[in-house]
Amino acid sequence: MSAILEARGLGRTLPGERPVVLVHDIDLTIEPGCFTAIVGPSGCGKSSLLYLLGLLDRPTAGELLFEGHEMSGLSGDERAQVRLEHLGFVFQFHFLLPEFSALENVMLPMRRLGRLDIDEAEARARALLAEMALDGKEGKTPDKLSGGERQRVAIARALANDPALILGDEPTGNLDSHNSARVVESLLSLAHDQGRAVACVTHDLAIAEQADVRIEMLDGRIEKIVDRRVGA
């Protein structure tokens, strides 16, 4: 299967008098229909790697191919456009815009992309929220939603423009076990039922156990990749 995202010798060093190596020598591929877990001790560089993979940060070494295209030459605007069309993020702290209702938050990426008119965008946002079992909560602003509900709104928003790749940074880190299980279930279904690529940084062993591929990190590099898919 062809990779959606491929990193070759990827590295990121913070410049300065005493440069800080966040990650180095990262080689990995992320494939559609596959749930990848990135695990490792705190401070080993998991988030830093995720920001590189999500085109939020620029690598200082190596290359990153998105659907076969080299990303390092792109301008900031072009990278933003790739994020808009092909990527969806879910962070540990439900990053919703406080002035907007759940429905409007989910509509934001669609309205920015502008492919759907407002009615179509609203219909799609309602459908996405319903998929996350959030029907009836569309009009609520984030402060009127529970932590689990907010996180599911965030997932719905990540799916707004039908991205090929979903990136999560401890998406369940802030949730109780019940809510956590529902979120994991949704993310797994995105990979297995919808054929998207999903990559999540996690501390949660239960999630790591269910992942198709487990990337274990240590001190800014990949220690081990465990592929548990049949035939791998």
Binding site: S47, Y51, G54, L56, D57, G76, D77, A80, Q81, V82, R83, L84, E85, L87, F89, F91, Q92, F93, F95, L96, L97, P98, E99, F100, L108, P109, R111, R112, L113, G114, R157, N161, D169, E170
Partner: protein, 416 residues
Amino acid sequence: MIGRFLFLVSIALRHLARRRRQTVVAVSGVAVGVGFFLAVSALMVGSQNDFIDQLIESAPHIIVSDELRSPSPQPGTRVFGQGAVELHGYKVRTEVRGIKDWSAIVAAADAIPGALASPSLTGGVTLRLGGHEEALAVVGIEPEIETQISTIEDQLRVGHLRDLEKVQGGIIIGEELASRLGVKVGDIVAASTSTSKARSMRIVGLFKKGRAQLSSNSGYVLLREAQSLLGRPFIINRIGIHLADPYAAERAAARLERRFGYKAESWQERSSEFLSLLVTRNVIMYSVVSAILLVASFGIYTVVSNSVSDKQRDIAIMRSIGFSERDLQLVFVVEGIVLAAIGVVVGWMLGYVLMEILGSLRFPIAGEEETIPLDRSARQYAIAAAASFLAGAVAAWLPARKAARVDPVDILRGAV
């Protein structure tokens, strides 16, 4: 493209809706600036236009007089011009006062499209009634032409200029002079000069008092009446010219002066001191208005700047979703422009109300109920709006650049 812009505007509006109090303060700043600009400029421009209208219309646009700007060369110098080193004991020729060839000048002036020239003769006479004497500058005119080139007619309290033609020896004098002499319309006064004997004149009209441009001691008679009264038949010493375009006066005057040699004074030259005073007034007005708008833009700067620093997290979210740096900059610039726009609309209303109040005031000036001349042209509204939008955009643009420069990774790292 438009859709995206409106979308960014809607985000900006949401941000502003969340900070109502600051928004109200910033909007009030702009509104007060715009409102007072409108009121002050209506006053300033209104009075200025009124003043210039009076300057332009109260007297002919160009006055050709029998004066020369430099003494004319004496015949001796004219003849020996190049050769003569110095002339001694030469008898200076006395020139007869008055404009020679005046009909040629009148013809030349009339040849300018839309222009009309009126010859006149001015001289000093003494009016006498009983034991009372008053000096009077008498102006001989052709009423038919004079009514077309100046507003004298409007300033008559009683009678018409044309009445001079109907009454033998008719004269029009000022109300004040008439009351000093104790005469009214229809009465007869004696007029004399140093060289002629007294002759009877009948009052046919009176000027309103308090008109600065008409000295209280001038009077109007028919041109030929003045010529015979002053003992200068066929002579005139002044040509008033009315132009279709008053602002062409300076150039037309220069041309006439070059051609005929007589001093041709345009209304601009006559009132150059006043006009430079107006420039100063305008400089003062626009400085005050700029200062008000500067203060108003501080309000906008504060709101947008606070908004940017409160919204760091939201900026990071939007960047991660795929908004570009420019999108975010635009959101915050739009916040400033929206504040300016609301301020402009409120300011327009405020300005309108202030102008209504100013316009309803009545002032007694020299016995006349006068309203303040106000300029309510759309131009002032447009200037106020343009200046506010500019101030708002600049004031918002400075902090908005900061929003564009926010690195989402820094924020995400901090929050996670």
